[in-house]
Each structure stands twice: as C-alpha cells, then as structure tokens.
C-alpha cells in the first residue's frame, strides 16, 4: 500500500486511517516512522520529484518480503513542496509480533533512502536547489560513464 500526495502529508489522518484499516487484522504491532522537515541551513522547505513506475516496483518487492513474514508495509510520500515543520514521509509496518516490525521498519527506511527514485530539493530564497550532497547514487550507477 503506497500512497502519494501533492504537498504536505496530513499525518494524524493517515496514521488514523492506517490504524483503522488494520484494526481487525490481528496484528500485535503497528510501528510508524514519520519524517518531518526541520529548519536548517536557512531552508524554507523541501520539494520532491518522484518517478512512480520504479517506486511502485521497488515498493512491491518490499511488500512481498513483508508478506513472507506475515507483515504488511504502508508508505505515504509527498510530491512537490513541503514547508518547515510539515511532514513528507510516513512508513509503517504491521506485524503479528513487535520484533519483525521493528526490524522491517529499520531496513525498509534505510533502503528507501538508498534506492527509492525520489529527488529532494531545498527551497531557499524562492529557488529549488537539488540536494546532491545529501543524495545517494542508486546501486549500479555509473554504467554509462
């Protein structure tokens, strides 16, 4: 379950919806991670581009891994501008027991940072500046050099 939104995420509503979707699914653990835009280096906010076809196939591969452990992953992400103290990312794992969910949320978020085809820009002085120094080359990059 992958949800993409234009602009900032409505965190309370999304967390509540997900809670209610799985309330009767007999999961013992619901572990969410919420990413919020912090004030640093004079930015006014962040902005995001997403390439959906590869994001969807990357997410489906993770969902299959979770399913094999009896768990389910949900993820929400923003497109476009997200201002200071707003949230752009939520990931959550539901699992029968807490250990699986705790391990999955850690691995999933790390791989998300390294592999998900999403590009981040700082909003600064009315400009959109690609955050190259905070970005990670996808595994296998550079084959055309």
């Amino acid at each position: 379950m992958l949800y993409l939104y234009d602009g900032a995420l409505n965190v309370p509503e999304i967390l509540k919806d997900w809670y209610e979707q799985e309330a009767k699914s007999n999961y013992g653990a619901y572990i969410p991670f919420v990413g919020t835009v912090r004030s640093e280096d004079g930015i006014e906010g962040l902005s995001f581009d997403i390439y959906e076809p590869i994001l969807k196939s990357w997410f489906e591969a993770w969902q299959e891994r979770a399913k094999a452990e009896g768990a389910v992953i949900k993820m929400a992400h923003s497109r476009g501008d997200v201002m200071l103290h707003e949230s752009s990312y939520i990931a959550a794992v539901f699992s029968p027991k807490r250990r699986v969910a705790l391990e999955f949320i850690d691995e999933f978020v790390e791989d998300f940072k390294a592999s998900a085809p999403i590009w981040k820009y700082d909003l600064k002085g009315g400009k959109r500046v690609y955050a190259l120094e905070r970005s990670t080359a996808i595994k296998g990059s550079g084959i055309l050099k």
Binding site: F48, H77, F112, W119, S135, A137, S141, I143, L144
Partner: protein, 73 residues
Amino acid sequence: MVRVEFLGPIQKEPLMLEITNLSELANILQGDKEMHVWLENSAVAVNDMLVSRRDIELKDGDRVALLPPVCGG
C-alpha cells in the same frame, strides 16, 4: 527509435535515438559535456527495470531512463 529520459534534477529534454544497446547511448551522451557528472552518478533503467550492464539489447519502442542520486523522505 529508443526514447531516452532524464529524471529528477537532470535538466535535459528526452531524446529519440536509433540505438541498439546502452554502449551506443554511452558514446552519444559522453559527447555532451553537461552530462559528464550525471553519467558518473546515475543509474539506468530500461523499460522501468534497473540494469547493471551496458550490453543489453535495445529495440524499437524501448524506453531508457537515467536516474541521478536519490534522497526521499
């Protein structure tokens, strides 16, 4: 024709090229100075599947995408 797209921050319009593999694409893009940095750090997808080798055969209607370094969240 193969359509080549440049994703995210790469400011380049899509290209339509008569090429049969990724080595031919590499030769064309290496001739574009502005692409040098992106060729170093970008991943490549063919028809939305990431690939790790240049010798993949391309046919008419295929789509190639260059994916620069990512940072979601």
